[in-house]
Amino acid sequence: MALRVDNITAGYGKITVLRNLSLEVREGEILGLLGRNGMGKTTLIRCLAGLIRPTAGNITFEDRQITELPPHERAQIGITTVVQGRGVFPGLTVRENLEMGRIASRRTKRSRIDEVVSYFPRLGERMRQSAGTLSGGEQQMLAIGRGLMTDPTMMLLDEPSDGIMPMLVQQNAKILKEINHREGMTMIIVEQNVPMVFSLTDHCVILEKGQVVTEGTRDEVSRSEVMKAYLAI
């Protein structure tokens, strides 16, 4: 098992968002996390990334307890996060953004820039350009590429389609699937774009009020009442 979340409760101050939430992700699997706004998807990603510490429960990554681990140590053991809004460093060039992934994580001395460019050729054409001048779709490519530069075994993606033109969303989804196949990388994707998630994975979870209310294959999830009621499918 790549990741096991056992009964975690977490939130912001006195506001509890996740309530006794549990889930498991197998190695090399892509898990799609679906749900309406405010149901705890991003809070869960922030818990897994180490930005929010659960008040109860445990998180285990590759048989190692990581519940108390700060974000930088999680990156150093192979968890990379592509945040909502992409979080590129606007004043750094594309190359520097990518190198920052390798330098900060200290997981590998080998630069993976060539591999990243093979996934995202457009980045190769913009290496000297400031990241802040890229389009939203290109910034998303950069954020994913920078995550790859940390040499991760698991990638957390929070709303990777947010604010990106539909054509690029499809293209990025295709590349994520290719990365998953080629590298055997475990991925957890938080999305509101259901077709994108369904194009990527057969294992989905729907969150409702901080709990897992439905889990199953693409077909099972799309047939569920929760999905019909909340996501209007």
């Binding site: 700060p70 990156a75 990379t80 945040v83 606007p90 750094l92 520097e96 190198e99 900060a104």
Partner: protein
């Protein structure tokens, strides 16, 4: 003609000396957001430690590096014991560093007394440039300042450490999510800023009589330099801010007394901030 040349030379020297004095503050304030009211005390400590080392018979060059290292250690202790729990709380760190200034000034008085001390000028004399006598030691300090800023520019823009620092300034949470140990980087930045402040105090010490308030001469100007240049614009901002403060003071002093010149400089600073509240190099 010779007056114009003299003004240009004076303004250049003062700009670079001021940049040297402000650089430690620019690092700490600009990179980790701590308004270091203890900056003046760090300059003073650098000057006193240089005096102590040269009085003990150590060569000047070794003395200034020992002094800077001594202030860096004090900065490390200050950061580790006090400041590190208060990042993101600028008002608290302002008060804490002000407290550091008060305590260290009193400790200096107890240890060294209040008598004026003098550090022998290691490069006495002057050289002639088109009929203008230029003090050799001031020129040397200006050169050191330029070297330090150029060296920092190399680190900042061409090394892995520079990438980490620039990424940290732009998005701390993201830098941490990529694996950067933010608290360790903050410590490194604070200690580097303290080292630079100590080095500036050490280099300035032969130019002035050393007393417990020597650093204060540069404290207010250093703040103006950093704010006018643009917080976070470590290199260009420090140089431009120093030029506006130091250069305008030289110009005003040419036509008036020193007191009026200093007052006019602060007026210039206020006018600049009225129209560029985020500094000359920052937009928005």
């Amino acid at each position: 003609m010779s007056t114009a040349l003299s003004v240009v030379v004076d303004a250049t020297l003062i700009t670079l000396i001021l940049a040297l004095a402000a650089f430690g503050l620019a690092i700490i304030y600009g990179l980790v957001g701590v308004i270091n009211m203890g900056h003046g005390a760090m300059l003073t400590l650098g000057a006193y430690l240089t005096w102590a080392a040269t009085t003990a018979g150590l060569p000047f060059v070794i003395s200034i590096f020992l002094a800077a290292a001594g202030v860096a250690v004090i900065g490390l202790l200050l950061e580790h014991i006090v400041i590190r729990s208060f990042y993101d709380r600028p008002f608290d760190t302002l008060l804490l560093t002000w407290g550091f200034f008060l305590v260290s000034t009193e400790v200096i008085k107890i240890v060294f007394g209040t008598d004026l001390r003098n550090v022998a000028n290691p490069v006495p004399g002057a050289f002639d440039l088109g009929g203008i006598q230029i003090p050799a030691y001031r020129t040397m300090i200006a050169g050191c300042s330029l070297l330090l800023i150029a060296g920092s520019a190399l680190v900042f823009f061409y090394t892995a450490l520079g990438i980490k620092i620039r990424a940290l300034i732009q998005n701390r949470e993201m830098a941490s999510l990529l694996g950067l140990d933010v608290s360790r980087m903050y410590k490194l930045v604070f200690v580097t800023g303290s080292f630079m402040a100590g080095l500036a105090g050490a280099l300035i010490s032969p130019m002035l009589s050393v007393d417990p308030y020597i650093g204060n001469i540069f404290l207010v100007r250093s703040f103006f330099v950093v704010i006018i240049g643009g917080i976070g614009h470590l290199l260009g901002g420090t140089l431009i801010g120093s030029f506006l403060i130091g250069g305008s003071e030289t110009l005003f002093a040419l036509f008036s007394g020193q007191v009026f010149a200093q007052t006019a400089v602060f007026a210039v600073a206020i006018v600049v901030l009225r129209f560029r509240p985020h500094g000359v190099l920052r937009s928005g």
